[in-house]
C-alpha cells in the first residue's frame, strides 16, 4: 500500500496544481488600449497603477547585485508616496530571484509575465540570464527594458526590439580608455587582467578593436575565473611583461586584489586603469587610499562615497529617501545608487511615452532625446534613436587623488569619437 499511497500524494499535489485552469489567466488574456493608442497592449497598467517585474540574483555567489532592486524600490516608494507615482500611476515592483542561473531566470520571467501579469520586465541582471529570456519576452511582446548588463548585443541586435540595455556597454567603456591612451600615451604597452566571462571578454575585445591602427599594443593578458580565490598569480605574470599600462577589467573583490598586488610590487609601476565596475570607493578603500593614488577610471553615475557629491541635491535627496523608504539598506552601497538612477530613468522614459502601453514604452525607450537624469554625471544624458539602442554611451574619465575621484577632461561621447556601434 505504501508506494501507491506516495503516488496518490504526488497525484494530489498535481491535482492541486491543476486547479488553475488553462483559460483562467496565463497571459493569453491581455488587455488592449482604446483611442489614439488603439489595439496596443495594456496588460499590467491601469490609470492608477503599473506593475513591473525584475529578476536579480538574491541568492548564490552573485548575490551582491541583489542590492540593486533595493535602490529601485526606494525610488518607486518615494515617488508613489510623494509624487503620486508615474503620471498618476502607483508603481508596484515585483522582484524575483534567479540565483544567476539562466534556467531559473526563464522560469521567473514566465512567472512574472504569465502569472503576475506585469506590464514590463524592468531589468534582468546578467548577460546569461538576459540572453536566456529575451527570445521569450520578444515573442510575447513584453518590454524588457534597461537590462542590467553592459553586453553590446542589447543595442546592436535588430531581432529583439523589446529588449534594451541602459548602462554604457562594455565596448563603449573600452573605447573611452583607448581614447585616453591615444592622447596621453600614444605608444603604450598594455597589460590586461580580465574576468573570463562575457563582461571581461566584451570589454577586452572592445579595447583591442579600439586600438587597431595605433601604436598602442597589448603586450600581456591574463584571465581569471570568478571561482578563483585570488588574482595574485595573474598579477605576478603580468608584472613580468614590464608593460607601462595595466588595464584592470575586474569585479569588486578581484579589483581590490589587483590594486593591492600592484601597490605591493614596487618594481613595476604602470599606469593603472581600473574599469567602472570595480571603481567604487568601496573597492579602493580596503586597499588603502595611499596605495591607489593616480589610478584612472571612468564613470557615468555619481558614487555615493565620493565627497564631491556630498552637497549635490540629487545625492542628498537619495540619502534622505533611502533612509526613509529603505531603512535597513546602507546608502553607501553603489548598487543602491545604480538602482535609484535606473529607476528614475524608467520614470523619465514613461513620462516621455505617448501611449501608456507596452508598445508606448518600447517606442519611448528607443526614442530618448537628451533626457537628463540627475543621478548621472553632469553632461551625460540618455539618447537613443533608430539604429542606436544604447541609452548611455558617454563616460567621463577620472583619476584618484587624496580620498576622492577627480573627474577630468570632457565627457567623452563614444558615438562621436568612434562612430556608432554596430553588430
Amino acid at each position: 500500500m505504501r508506494v501507491s499511497a506516495i503516488g496518490c500524494t504526488a497525484l494530489l499535489l498535481l491535482a492541486v496544481a491543476a486547479c488553475g485552469g488553462r483559460d483562467s489567466g496565463g497571459g493569453t488574456t491581455g488587455t488592449a488600449a482604446s483611442g489614439q493608442c488603439q489595439g496596443q497592449q495594456t496588460t499590467g497598467i491601469t490609470d492608477t497603477s503599473i506593475k513591473l517585474g525584475g529578476i536579480y540574483p538574491l541568492s548564490g555567489p552573485a548575490s551582491a547585485y541583489g542590492d540593486i532592486p533595493k535602490g529601485i524600490k526606494a525610488y518607486f516608494d518615494y515617488i508613489n508616496a510623494e509624487k503620486g507615482g508615474i503620471k498618476g500611476r502607483k508603481v508596484e515592483f515585483v522582484v524575483r530571484d534567479d540565483g544567476y542561473q539562466p534556467p531559473k531566470a526563464v522560469e521567473e520571467a514566465r512567472r512574472l509575465v504569465e502569472q503576475e501579469q506585469v506590464f514590463a520586465l524592468f531589468q534582468t541582471l546578467g548577460t546569461p540570464s538576459t540572453t536566456a529570456t529575451w527570445d521569450y519576452t520578444n515573442q510575447r511582446k513584453v518590454p524588457q527594458v534597461f537590462v542590467a548588463t553592459g553586453a553590446s548585443q542589447w543595442g546592436t541586435d535588430t531581432a529583439h526590439p523589446w529588449t534594451i540595455g541602459w548602462q554604457p556597454n562594455y565596448i563603449s567603456e573600452a573605447r573611452v580608455y583607448a581614447q585616453y591612451l591615444k592622447t596621453e600615451k600614444p605608444e603604450a604597452k598594455v597589460a590586461v587582467l580580465y574576468q573570463n566571462d562575457d563582461f571581461g571578454k566584451d570589454l577586452f575585445g572592445g579595447f583591442t578593436r579600439a586600438i587597431e591602427g595605433t601604436q598602442i599594443k597589448v603586450v600581456a593578458e591574463q584571465s581569471y575565473e570568478v571561482s578563483d580565490p585570488s588574482v595574485d598569480p595573474q598579477m605576478r605574470n603580468l608584472a613580468d611583461s614590464k608593460a607601462d599600462v595595466l588595464l584592470n577589467i575586474t569585479t569588486p573583490k578581484f579589483g581590490s586584489q589587483a590594486l593591492a598586488a600592484d601597490a605591493k610590487n614596487t618594481s613595476w609601476n604602470p599606469l593603472h586603469i581600473v574599469n567602472n565596475v570595480a571603481s567604487s570607493i568601496t573597492v579602493l578603500k580596503p586597499v588603502g587610499f595611499e596605495n591607489v593614488q593616480g589610478v584612472v577610471s571612468s564613470s557615468y553615475y555619481k558614487d555615493p562615497n565620493d565627497p564631491t557629491w556630498a552637497n549635490d541635491p540629487e545625492m542628498m535627496l537619495y540619502r534622505q529617501k533611502m533612509q526613509q523608504y529603505a531603512p535597513g539598506a546602507d546608502p553607501n552601497i553603489p548598487y543602491h545608487t545604480f538602482g535609484w538612477a535606473v529607476a528614475s530613468s524608467f520614470h523619465k522614459a514613461m513620462e516621455a511615452a505617448t501611449c501608456m502601453t507596452r508598445e508606448g514604452l518600447r517606442d519611448s525607450v528607443r526614442n530618448l532625446k537628451g533626457v537628463k537624469v540627475d543621478m548621472l554625471l553632469p553632461g551625460i544624458t540618455l539618447d537613443t534613436a533608430q539604429g542606436d539602442g544604447f541609452p548611455i554611451e558617454s563616460m567621463q574619465l577620472m583619476t584618484f587623488k587624496g580620498e576622492r575621484w577627480e573627474l577630468f577632461g570632457q565627457v567623452i561621447d563614444t558615438r562621436k569619437e568612434f562612430g556608432p556601434l554596430t553588430g
Binding site: 548575490s63 585570488s230 569588486p252 573597492v283 546602507d330 553607501n332 552601497i333
Partner: protein
C-alpha cells in the same frame, strides 16, 4: 631563474592560505570522520565577527582572542544543534547537512554584513623583503609562520594528549570508544569547536590578502580539499605540506604551461586529487587504513 623563484614564492604564499583551511578540514575529519563542506564558510563568518569587534573599537589582538572564543563556542553549538540530530544517519545525510550549512552561513553573512568588501586590518606589517631579486612580503611570511605554529599545536594535540587519543578512538569506532568510557558526544562537539577555531585563524589570516566578503572562502575550499587529500586527511603536517605543494604547482602550471594558462589552472587541484587517490590513497603523510569487513 629569479623569475622562476619569484613564482615559487608566490605559490608558497597561495599555498599557505590553502594550508590554513586544510588544517581545519583535517582536524574535523580526525574528530568526527566527516568532511565538512561548510568549514570555509564558518571561517568566513568568524572573520566577520573579528571585523565587527575591530569596527566596534576593540584592539586587534583582543578582537582576535574574542573571535577565537566565540568560534569555539559556535562550533560546539553547531554540533549540538545541527549535527547531533542526524548523528548515526548515513554519511551522505551528514554531507548534505554540511552543504545546507554552507548555503545558510553564506547567505546569512551577506544578509548581516552586505556584500561590500570590508576593510580588514592586517596583523602583519606591510613591508617587502628582498633577497637576490626575489620579493617576499612580510605578511606572506607571517601567514606561513602562524600556519606552522597551528600545525605544531595540532600535532601535539593529536600525538601527546588524552584528548587526541580519545578523539582517534571516537573517529575509528564510536561504539567501542563509548564502551571504554569516552564521552563520545563531547568529543564530537570538541572537534567541531576546535575546527571552527582553527578555521577562524585561517579566515583572519587570509582576509587581508583575499579581502573580506561573503564569498571569500568559496574559492579556497577546493584547494584546501586538494591539500588535505594530498597530505593525508589524518596528518596536520600533511595538510600544510600538501597546501604548499598545491599552491606552488598551481602557480607554476598557470605561469609556464601554455596549454593550462591562467584560466585552466583550477584543473591542477583536480589532477592532484585524482593522481594521489589512485597512487597513494592515504596521502603523502597519512597512514593506510586496513578495513575489516
Amino acid at each position: 631563474m629569479a623569475g622562476f623563484l619569484q613564482q615559487v614564492v608566490e605559490g608558497l604564499g597561495a599555498g599557505a592560505i590553502y594550508a590554513s583551511l586544510a588544517l581545519a578540514l583535517v582536524l574535523i575529519y580526525q574528530f568526527t570522520g566527516i568532511v565538512n563542506f561548510a568549514q570555509g564558510e564558518l571561517a568566513m563568518f568568524s572573520t566577520y565577527i573579528a571585523w565587527q569587534c575591530v569596527a566596534a573599537g576593540l584592539p586587534f589582538w583582543l578582537a582576535l582572542v574574542l573571535t577565537l572564543a566565540v568560534s569555539f563556542a559556535g562550533g560546539m553549538l553547531i554540533e549540538r544543534v545541527i549535527i547531533r540530530p542526524v548523528e548515526g544517519a548515513p554519511e551522505l545525510t551528514l554531507v548534505i547537512v554540511t552543504v545546507g550549512l554552507f548555503i545558510f552561513v553564506n547567505a546569512a553573512a551577506g544578509w548581516i554584513w552586505t556584500f561590500l568588501i570590508k576593510d580588514f586590518p592586517n596583523p602583519f606589517p606591510g613591508g617587502v623583503l628582498e633577497a637576490g631579486g626575489i620579493h617576499v612580503s612580510v605578511s606572506t611570511l607571517g601567514v606561513l609562520g602562524v600556519v606552522a605554529v597551528v600545525m605544531g599545536l595540532l600535532y601535539a594535540l593529536f600525538r601527546y594528549t588524552k584528548i587526541g587519543l580519545g578523539m582517534r578512538a571516537v573517529a575509528t569506532n564510536p561504539s567501542s570508544a563509548r564502551l571504554v568510557g569516552i564521552r563520545v558526544g563531547w568529543m564530537l562537539a570538541l572537534g567541531w569547536g576546535l575546527a571552527a577555531t582553527v578555521g577562524a585563524v585561517s579566515g583572519v589570516l587570509v582576509a587581508p590578502v583575499l579581502f573580506l566578503e561573503p564569498n571569500m572562502m568559496g574559492g579556497v575550499l577546493i584547494y584546501a580539499f586538494a591539500a588535505a587529500t594530498l597530505g593525508g586527511f589524518d596528518s596536520p603536517l600533511g595538510a600544510v605540506v600538501g597546501g604548499l605543494i598545491v599552491g606552488v604547482a598551481e602557480t607554476l602550471a598557470g605561469a609556464y604551461i601554455q596549454v593550462i594558462g591562467s584560466d585552466l589552472k583550477v584543473g591542477v587541484p583536480l589532477v592532484i586529487i585524482v593522481v594521489v587517490l589512485l597512487l597513494r590513497p592515504q596521502g603523502l603523510f597519512g597512514r593506510a587504513v586496513v578495513e575489516r569487513a
